[in-house]
């Protein structure tokens, strides 16, 4: 992980609206040049947290430091951050050029410099041709890029983006994801993006904070977050997951002996520790025996065979209950002999030799014991 200095420091910040606690004791350090994502379900407080960084909401408790400076007394128009709003908020009565120039004009920048910087910014987002257009003559994606250029032209220390891609269709969204990453590399500004789309967060961000009900559940890089979620919530929220209730019945060093609902007795080797800056990093199964936990395994880690798997893998017998075809993958749902349901993703690697499973067919599924996650309840 990079050792760049911290640009944004959020220190146990809380915000209540009436009886709703929108943001609950959140602490985060966002480093210089990072592409940082706030990810979570609707209403978990992402926008509120972002608006507190921009200065539109004031924290009830805690403090926010940007570049080492406490922002408590700094109004939104004096903060070294700029925001791309969810609705883009492009000024409808101004041309594209005037929209981008607005922030420089109110700052009293000399007009020669304004012209140059606006042209550069429009070039960067590939809107030079549309400079004289009115916002109503632009597509959604173009309007979004106007909002981006308008914020970037101010050369903020931090760029805040509130679900910038949610109004775009799937194809354009993918293109803009790449575009945003390219831009972030080009300008070297810290980006903080809010999203409820896990794929967006995983594909764009260096680090992701997963939020639930106003609290940060885990902060990690995309791969770490996907492969080593620290809670049932994070495991279920990011990607698909087979979750099983389990109970620790014995442990030998890091090895755990478990009684798993629907799977029976299992022995798991030691787990890799979670990254240090996540809450709940004490390590799973750290409580007294017997200890109720969850175990989890990703569908793509599960293989399906017609014969029993070779030793060393966790292996179970069942029947196909459903098959869903997604083009690149197929999801196969099995009902194990114990009645437990489990899903596996099969990659459709070749066009013709695609494995076909009939519903009701008897099969084996298996996975590596090391791919099994242990999660605290």
């Amino acid at each position: 992980m990079s050792e760049s200095p911290v640009t944004v420091s959020i220190q146990s910040v809380s915000k209540r609206f009436g009886t709703v606690t929108a943001v609950d004791r959140v602490s985060l350090d966002i480093r210089q040049n990072e592409f940082f994502a706030l990810l979570g379900p609707s209403g978990c407080g992402k926008t509120t947290l972002l608006r507190m960084l921009a200065g539109f909401e004031t924290p009830d408790r805690g403090s926010i430091l940007i570049d080492g400076q406490d922002m408590a007394e700094v109004p939104p128009n004096r903060r070294p951050v700029n925001m791309v709003f969810q609705s883009y908020a492009v000024f409808p009565h101004m041309s594209v050029f005037d929209n981008v120039a607005y922030g420089l004009r109110v700052a009293g920048t000399p007009s020669g410099e304004i012209g140059q910087r606006v042209r550069d910014a429009l070039e960067m987002v590939r809107l030079s041709e549309q400079a004289e257009r009115r916002p109503d003559q632009l597509s959604g994606g173009q309007r979004q890029r106007v909002a981006l250029a308008r914020a970037l032209v101010k050369r903020p220390k931090v760029l805040l983006l509130d679900e910038p891609l949610s109004a775009l269709d799937a194809k354009l969204r993918e293109a803009m994801q790449l575009e945003l990453v390219r831009l972030q590399h080009a300008v070297g500004i810290t980006f903080v993006i809010v999203t409820h789309d896990q794929h967006e967060a995983l594909s764009m961000a260096n680090r992701i904070a997963v939020m639930e009900a106003g609290q940060v559940r885990q902060v990690d890089g995309p791969a770490q977050l996907y492969e080593f979620p620290n809670s049932r919530f994070v495991a279920g929220f990011i990607g698909k997951m087979n979750l099983f209730r389990a109970r620790v019945i014995a442990r030998h060093g890091t090895e755990l002996k478990l009684d798993v609902e629907g799977l029976g007795r299992l022995t798991l080797p030691g787990q890799e520790p979670h990254s240090a800056d996540s809450p709940g990093a004490a390590g799973p199964g750290a409580g007294p025996d017997p200890w109720d936990i969850d175990i989890a395994v990703r569908p793509e880690k599960i293989r399906i065979h017609r014969d029993e798997a070779p030793g060393g893998r966790i292996s179970h017998h069942g029947r196909v209950s459903e098959v869903a075809y997604f083009g690149d993958t197929s999801h196969v749902y099995l009902r194990l002999d114990s009645g437990q349901s489990i899903s596996a993703n099969i990659r459709n690697v070749a066009r013709t030799s695609r494995p076909s499973f009939r519903i009701g067919e008897a099969l084996w599924c298996s996975w590596d014991a090391g791919d099994t996650l242990v999660l605290d309840r």
């Binding site: 109004p75 128009n77 609705s87 492009v90 409808p92 922030g103 916002p135």
Partner: protein, 286 residues
């Protein structure tokens, strides 16, 4: 629209789509009748202002002499000038006041806000005659001086007109405010604009069509108000509607028609100007 779509089981009647109202004869008839009822009296009024006859009964040929006569009628011209001055002043003040009230109601929360919003529209719903009597009583009670020189002698009428027209402006501007995306305001501040710059550069341009419409309403309301003016006007502060009324009491001459026609023309011109002014603005909303 060119070739009717034939549906296999539809009767010929069904060839007219549910929204093709204009293709039904009874609908056309209704539209024509409505327009006739609305505009026939006005067109007659205008036509007879050019009638070469002392009375509005028979058409005796075209003439402009009643316009000339109206032009030379000093008391009519005085009334006309009074009306315009009152309308201009009261429109300016009530537009300003209405916009301020609308922005205030939109921007701030304060105790009794909804009660105030309710009270604010009272002048719109109170019968005009009551407003008129109330105004007369009010000015009598405060001992408003009656011997001022022009244009100060119009002061009480202007105040009365502001009182009943600014709520219209406030209501119209407030309605426009509802559709305002508050993120626009945040965006301006985020880019470094102060409260005042945000107001000037973002909020007011957005409100412009509402302000123009409100101002236009205030102007026409003031220009043709009779009841309230009648109660507040002194002997030397006759307005055009009051003057026309007093002329009509003797007989409806083409001169009255001519004066009325001019009033109509002014109102129409003001409306057209206002629509011109706000039309391109509306297209720009994203």
């Amino acid at each position: 629209m060119t070739a009717p779509v034939r549906r296999p089981h539809g009767s010929p009647r069904n060839l007219i789509g549910p929204l093709d109202y204009t293709r039904r004869w009874w609908m056309r008839f209704l539209v024509a009748a409505t327009f006739l009822a609305l505009y026939a009296p006005i067109l007659t009024l205008i036509a007879y202002s050019f009638n070469d006859s002392r009375r509005n009964i028979m058409w005796r040929g075209f003439t402009l002499k009643y316009y000339e006569k109206a032009w030379n009628n000093d008391s009519l011209i005085d009334a006309f000038v009074n009306s315009l001055s009152i309308a201009v002043f009261s429109t300016a003040v009530s537009t300003l006041l209405g916009v301020l009230v609308a922005i205030f109601l939109w921007r701030f929360k304060f105790p009794g806000k909804s009660a105030y919003e309710g009270f604010m529209v009272l002048p719109i719903v109170i019968p005009e005659i009551c407003m008129g009597v109330a105004m007369m009583a009010f000015f009598a009670r405060v001992g408003w001086p009656t011997n001022l020189t022009w244009p100060f002698n119009l002061g009480n009428i202007i105040i009365a007109h502001i009182a009943f027209s600014f709520p219209f402006v406030a209501v119209i501007v407030r309605a426009r405010m509802v559709g305002f995306n508050r993120e626009l305001e945040d965006a301006a501040k985020d880019l470094g604009a102060s409260e005042w710059q945000t107001m000037r550069d973002v909020v007011l341009p957005y409100l412009k069509p509402g302000i123009v419409a409100g101002g236009l309403i205030a102007f026409t309301l003031s220009l043709d108000d009779f009841v309230i003016t009648f109660f507040t006007a002194g002997p030397n502060t006759i307005t055009l509607p009051v003057k026309i009324f007093s002329m009509v009491r003797f007989s409806v001459t083409p001169e009255v028609n001519a004066a009325s026609t001019i009033l109509i023309v002014i109102t129409v011109i003001a409306t057209v100007l206002a629509m011109r002014f706000q039309a391109p603005q509306d297209k720009q909303e994203g």
